[in-house]
């Protein structure tokens, strides 16, 4: 740790020295011209591999789409654990690559790592994927961006509700944090809007990437007569493939997994980071102040549904398309009372509605009626 600090300090000192000597030599250099020749430099950090058919791939695809903007320079690093390692990555991107803005994309990077590094480098913007930034508590050069991915998840729920014969759906999730719970709830609400008797079984595997447990969960669920599976883990590959092998339906997550399950893939919820990252680059180029919070759903183009699979019936498609239309014109509200949780308590009373942007939804700690599972291990 101390050695790391020393290194960073030394790098910084060297950089200042070389900058000084450069200005000394080229005394007449106009700083403005320098600045305009500069590229927008954006660094991306992923917790897993770039091509995991999942969360990290979605970000990598977003980053890669920037390559057709010649005034943007991007660099990235994969497989960075949520430990002191990410501090090293961030500091080296700042000190060696001159990053102006960093996108450490994993949930666990935020506290304490981003917060710590952000204080040290007030000129660098740190944008974290997730809903954790709090105006009162966190530095001004930190922000968060996130998409209402539960909207396409809701759509997937509608399709799943139509396609399930047993009325039993399965959700394989990593850990019970608000974003995960919100997806589970939206999926279930979507399915129950079609068939109010549907249940969703939840298995928490306890980690974002645990292929053996995910496969085990998928098999156990198939054994229990569950006939549509979806998941919220870093890479849905194993879940989607196992569902296909067991001859049941699956809904994807993060990116398009349809090629992994040509028979049973229904639809899925995808990120559309290309748009978000291009917007950020544009803001930096034009010198606009970057907002600390960026949110968007289907309407804003931050998330999108996967194309329907072959198995999806016409009725399911037309129903889901109708809901999609409502999302697109802003009239759809997922969390509209009365909604009970799965212990029978009313969490949203009749007449009360929480629209997507409502911050209350981001502290979700309950599971909706119809979900078989609990938030407390």
């Amino acid at each position: 740790m101390s050695e790391q600090k020393l290194n960073a300090g030394r790098r910084k000192a060297l950089k200042t020295l070389s900058a000084l000597s450069a200005t000394g030599l080229l005394g007449s250099f106009v700083p403005g011209a320098w600045a305009s020749a500069k590229k927008v430099k954006m660094g991306f950090i992923y917790v897993g591999p770039r091509d995991d058919y999942g969360y990290n791939q979605a970000h990598f695809e977003g980053k890669s789409s920037l390559s057709n903007l010649d005034w943007v320079k991007t660099f990235d690093e994969e497989n960075v654990p949520e430990t002191i390692e990410v501090v090293k990555s961030m500091e080296s991107m700042i000190n060696l690559d001159d990053a102006q803005v960093l996108f450490p994309t994993s949930f666990g990077y935020f506290d304490p790592h981003i917060l710590k590094v952000a204080k040290k480098y007030p000129d660098v913007m740190f944008l974290h994927c997730g809903g954790l930034w709090d105006e009162k508590k966190h530095p001004k050069n930190v922000g968060s961006y996130f998409g209402y991915i539960d909207e396409p998840v809701y759509l997937a729920g509608v399709v799943a509700g139509h396609m399930s014969k047993s009325g039993k759906l399965g959700y394989i999730a990593a850990i019970p944090i608000p974003q995960v719970l919100r997806n589970i709830n939206s999926f279930t609400l979507g399915a129950r809007s079609v068939n109010p008797d549907i249940t969703t079984n939840v298995v928490f595997t306890g980690g974002w990437a645990n292929p053996v447990k995910e496969a085990e969960a998928a098999n156990s669920m198939a054994d229990q007569g569950i006939d549509v599976l979806t998941c919220h883990v870093d890479s849905p590959k194993v879940v989607v493939q196992t569902a296909e092998k067991r001859g049941i339906y699956s809904c994807g997550y993060h990116t398009d997994q349809s090629v992994l399950a040509p028979k049973g893939f229904l639809t899925g919820a995808e990120w559309n980071w290309s748009k978000v990252y291009a917007d950020y680059a544009e803001m930096i180029k034009s010198g606009k102040k970057i907002p600390n919070l960026i949110r968007g759903g289907l309407k804003e183009g931050v998330v999108k549904p996967s194309p329907y699979g072959k198995a999806v019936t016409a009725k399911a498609k037309s129903d889901a398309d109708a809901v999609l239309k409502k999302f697109m014109n802003g009239s759809m509200v997922v969390y509209k009372g009365p909604i009970k949780d799965n212990t029978g308590k009313t969490v949203i009373p009749e007449g009360k509605a929480y629209t997507q942007t409502d911050i209350w939804l981001e502290s979700m700690d309950w599971l909706v009626e119809g979900v078989i599972g609990t938030t407390k291990g």
């Binding site: 897993g48 591999p49 091509d51 995991d52 058919y53 497989n79 399965g170 079984n201 939840v202 298995v203 928490f204 595997t205 306890g206 990437a209 645990n210 292929p211 053996v212 447990k213 995910e214 496969a215 085990e216 969960a217 098999n219 156990s220 669920m221 198939a222 054994d223 229990q224 007569g225 569950i226 870093d234 890479s235 590959k237 194993v238 493939q241 196992t242 092998k245 067991r246 090629v259 992994l260 078989i372 599972g373 609990t374 407390k376 291990g377």
Partner: protein
């Protein structure tokens, strides 16, 4: 009958199926480690063999279209890693454990590096044998869908036990493992025996890796092993260096790993953190229950205590 009450019967069946599915890689790695340790050498690097085996097996199966060729290559990759380990360990004053850890880091990193192009493609899977065809319960049939590698492992375990007890080569391995001095006095080339034992152990662990990527869960990615190779090494200790006990221990561990997801999927939702940790709790429990202050582990090769 099972369908009438899928609840607890379902958990039992899932644990049974899980024991077989999840336990197979444990079985191969622990048999491999058992062979190596019987010769008086410890190879902590089998985690690397597992991961390299998974990666190379998947890659070769994808490129060649033959899953069985993948298994073979996975095994051979394990042999090469075992060879490196053995050559390093037989130098003077080299510590087995340190080399093992180095090999583990080396192999894992290499597998991640070489495996990049294989995360996306879908390779052919190993076929399964339907042992449950007699039953009309799809649940039971799924649980009894067994891979040929598991059968190989089940046969291999008693075969190895027999080998150590009666075969000339087996006795040779044991002699070297029990006492280097005695083996030297008998004119046995200790290093050569250990070299072969380490390569053989490496082969088995590599095959175990190919089971992970080619059968269950059946795809290559970097989180695939998540420490299973290391756990299998620990398994050998409480299997008392007995190949048949390795089989039981692997099944027990596989079943324990299946317990968490199985309980949740039947709707037993409390305590999932605890159940997910079941294999680790089990390890600690057994180690405590079976440890003794008075004597070294029964069955432990004599040379192992010198490491």
């Amino acid at each position: 009958m099972v369908e009438a009450d899928p609840g607890y019967a379902g958990v039992l069946i899932a644990v049974l199926g899980g024991a077989i599915r999840v336990g197979t890689p444990f079985l191969f790695v622990s048999l491999g480690e058992c062979l190596t340790e019987k010769s008086g050498r410890i190879n902590l690097g089998l985690e690397a063999n597992l991961i390299m085996g998974a990666m190379s097996g998947y890659g070769v199966a994808y490129l060649s279209g033959s899953a069985w060729l993948g298994v073979l290559v996975a095994g051979l990759t394990g042999v090469v890693l075992g060879l490196i380990h053995a050559l390093l360990c037989q130098q003077d004053k080299v510590n087995d454990i340190a080399v093992g850890i180095a090999m583990m880091l080396f192999g894992t990193g290499l597998a991640f590096y070489l495996g990049k192009p294989f995360i996306q493609p879908v390779a052919p899977r190993l076929p399964s044998i339907e042992l449950g065809a007699w039953s009309d319960s799809p649940v039971l049939r799924a649980a009894l869908e067994i891979n040929a590698l598991f059968v190989v492992g089940v046969i291999l375990a008693p075969l190895m036990a027999w080998f150590f007890r009666y075969a000339r080569w087996g006795l040779l391995v044991r002699t070297v493992g029990e006492s280097r001095d005695a083996a030297l006095a008998m004119g046995i080339n200790v290093n050569r025996v250990r070299l072969y034992a380490t390569m053989g152990g490496g082969f088995l662990a590599g095959v175990g890796g190919s089971f992970l990527s080619l059968y269950y869960p059946g795809s290559w990615n970097e989180g695939l092993s998540s420490g299973q190779g290391l756990m299998a090494v620990a398994l050998v200790i409480f299997a008392r260096w007995n190949p048949v006990y390795c089989l039981y221990a692997s099944l027990l561990f596989g079943g324990a790993a299946a317990l968490g997801p199985a309980l949740q999927s039947v709707g037993i939702t409390w305590g999932y953190y605890l159940f997910n940790a079941a294999p680790y709790v089990l390890t600690l429990g057994i180690m405590i229950a079976t440890s003794s202050r008075k004597q070294r582990f029964a069955g432990m090769p004599g040379e192992m205590s010198n490491i």
